[in-house]
């Protein structure tokens, strides 16, 4: 066990029972019942397939395997205001319609290549000022959406997928190291010694 694990465990012991993991598992193992917005099974599938197109399974797990779609929906359901949710839903309808017109198919029935082409096409058509970039050092979703509903929908799904992914246990333990208890502050530290994943 390295020193940090020891420290974290020590803190857990000191902290006692209250530190047991929350019973509400945020990444969810099943789809979450939404409280504020109405999404039907097809729409849920569309969003899940968008998530998987953004973060596909490669030699590391993809969005679906990490249960990101449920979290993305939960974020939009809980953390967006009514106005943003209305734009999101209107945008999803527009998106579905656009795919149907262009491909005579639903998004989910398309090949990965077509799905990628659709998403890349939207992204390249109009980027928000900050792109999908979350602010500075801590990933945070951007809550104020674009005026155009389709863009609002697109960026909401993309940003929340990125947020879900980069704050997931898998990402923060396997792909990068989230250092909860650094126990150090070294200044004048050579960039060459930094482990940039």
């Amino acid at each position: 066990m390295d020193r940090r694990t020891v420290l974290k465990n020590l803190a857990l012991v000191i902290g006692g029972a209250v530190l047991l993991p929350s019973c509400l598992h945020p990444d969810g193992t099943t789809y979450i019942k939404l409280k504020h917005i109405d999404i039907d099974a097809d729409q849920e599938k569309t969003i899940a397939d968008m998530c998987e197109t953004f973060i596909p399974k490669t030699n590391t797990p993809g969005a679906k395997e990490l249960n990101l779609p449920a979290f993305v929906l939960k974020m939009i359901d809980d953390c967006y205001g009514k106005k943003d949710q209305e734009a999101f839903l209107a945008g999803m309808a527009k998106f579905t319609e656009m795919v149907k017109t262009k491909y005579n198919s639903s998004f989910s029935d398309l090949s990965v290549k077509d799905r990628e082409a659709i998403l890349t096409g939207i992204e390249n058509s109009a980027k928000p000022k900050e792109g999908a970039k979350a602010t500075a050092r801590r990933p945070r979703p951007q809550k104020h959406l674009e005026a155009d509903p389709q863009m609002a929908f697109y960026w909401a799904v993309k940003q929340q997928t990125i947020y879900a992914y980069t704050t997931s246990q898998y990402f923060m333990t396997k792909l990068v190291f989230y250092d909860m208890i650094p126990g150090r502050y070294n200044v004048h530290y050579p960039v060459s010694k930094l482990k940039l994943a």
Binding site: L7, A11, L12, I14, G15, G16, V18, L19, S22, L24, P26, D27, T53, F54, I55, T60, F71, K74, M75, D78, C79, G81, E116, L119, T120, E123, G131, A132, K133, A134, R137, R138, R140, P141, I162, Y163, A164, T166, T167, F171, M172, V176, Y178, M180, I181, P182, G183, R184, Y185, N186, V187, H188, Y189, P190, V191, S192, K193, L194, L196, A197
Partner: protein, 570 residues
Amino acid sequence: MANLNIDSVKTRTFDAIVIGSGISGGWAAKELTGHGLKTLVLERGRDVKHIKDYPTTNKFPWEFEHHGQLPAAVTEANPIASRCYAFGEDSAHFFVKDKEHPYIQDKPFDWIRGYQVGGKSLLWARQTQRWSDFDFEGPARDGFAVDWPIRYKDIAPWYSYVEKFAGIAGNKDGIPELPDGEFLPGYPLNDVEVYFSEHLKKNYKNRHVISARCAHLSKPNQIHIDQGRTQCQNRDLCQRGCPFGGYFSSNASTMPWAEKSGNMTLRPFSVVESIIYDDKLGKATGVRVVDTKTKETIEYYAKIIFVNAAAINTNLVLLNSTSARFPNGFGNDSGVLGKYIAFHNYSAHIGAEYDGLKEWTVDGRSPTGGYIPRFRNVYKQETNFLRGYACGFSAYRYQQHKYDGVGSSLKEGLVKGDLSPWYVGSHMMGETIPKESNHVSLDSKLKDEWGVPLLRINIDYDDNDEKMKKDYIEQLTEMFTSAGFKNIQPSTNHQAPGLDIHEMGGARMGKDPKTSILNEWNQVHACKNVFVTDGACMTSTSCQNPSLTYMAITARAADHAVSELKKGNV
């Protein structure tokens, strides 16, 4: 029955009562119990025990329901609390929710509150700079407010006293306007902060960047280990409560210490409705409390009373404590109670990039940053505004990820990425001038759930603040430019007073009972067994973060109270 009543009075009688358990109340509790006084500590909120009641402290981001983000229902229901930088999914349980405790904003005022044992000491930014005589002599020299009845020499030993116990990290910088203290090793400045510090030293007189002194155990002494605290682990998750006791809070430090003395009785869920004044005895005999759960009114009695309800609420308690002797509020012969409230002006920022020192970065996290002590109007009046400002100053860089595209390239962009250039940022911390018009008062009709009148808050910026803000932007822009920083971006906001969480005054100290509420020992001029030692006592605001000064003032006043008790003077 008669006996029962006598017994009941007896169980409700103490040597001392402390109203509030935040940063100053905790100190009052520790000092008074430490001198053997049976002390009742009243807290309007719930109890929060160190570690045990920090439910989020060891959670990883993915263990939060929204990975740290607050639901819209919470932010929309709490526009005031939501404006505080520390209000998040990991800390919301330590903040007062807007609807629970309403107040009337005659002018916009973001009143940030923490109603629990420990108060806001769980949430504070932990910056602890001493005041100097440039601050205590300010009102007299510049002709505003009233003269402070104390000087630096009066409080210096008490700064040392509280610093040793609380644990303050800092360096001996030898700057007269920011006196050195009893420090644990300071956190170092990083390379760009050092660069800017050296730049200022070379090019400006009296402008310094130092490592901001902070209440963190960089290297604990025995006295901190005796409190059950250990070294700060640089987690930067302080607002959750620290399981290591790495930073000072009432919960980690003074309250358990007071409890250990065996002399403290802690009563949470107890709103103080008023202080009881006995006309015949000519002094205060106790306090009237409303139990927030049962709504029952109970009286408690003591020889001395310390009022540490937090600046604005202390004003509320005093204003609501009326009697034949004090028809306009407790100790308010002068008519200044609730007036001359001031705060700190945090409404300007500036950011920039630095295109050098690219081969260097930092590793780990610092609990503090750089600090530029006040350099305006220090030795003499030199600008078109009174007083001045201190500045936060920090340099940082971070890994830049790519968020473009879809698929494996996006996945890679989220993991990999080069280091950004250095960015620098600063915010102003301006002194504001206490004015009679900046005041709080009781509403004549509306009351809260416990029968206490609602507070009306009437506090605003003035022309002096605007001029100072303009000067901050000008000076920092010039300093950044001459240091070779690029892409300099000043910004101002219109944040309401209150969001600085440095509201002060209303029951100010002063030499003359005709123009102040408290004397040089924080005793109410007209009722010497009542002491006010939280932010309400402040005659002026300086520009240093005030908590350390509250601690020192409290310890000093408690010492005086004990000695006056022994002499039979109170």
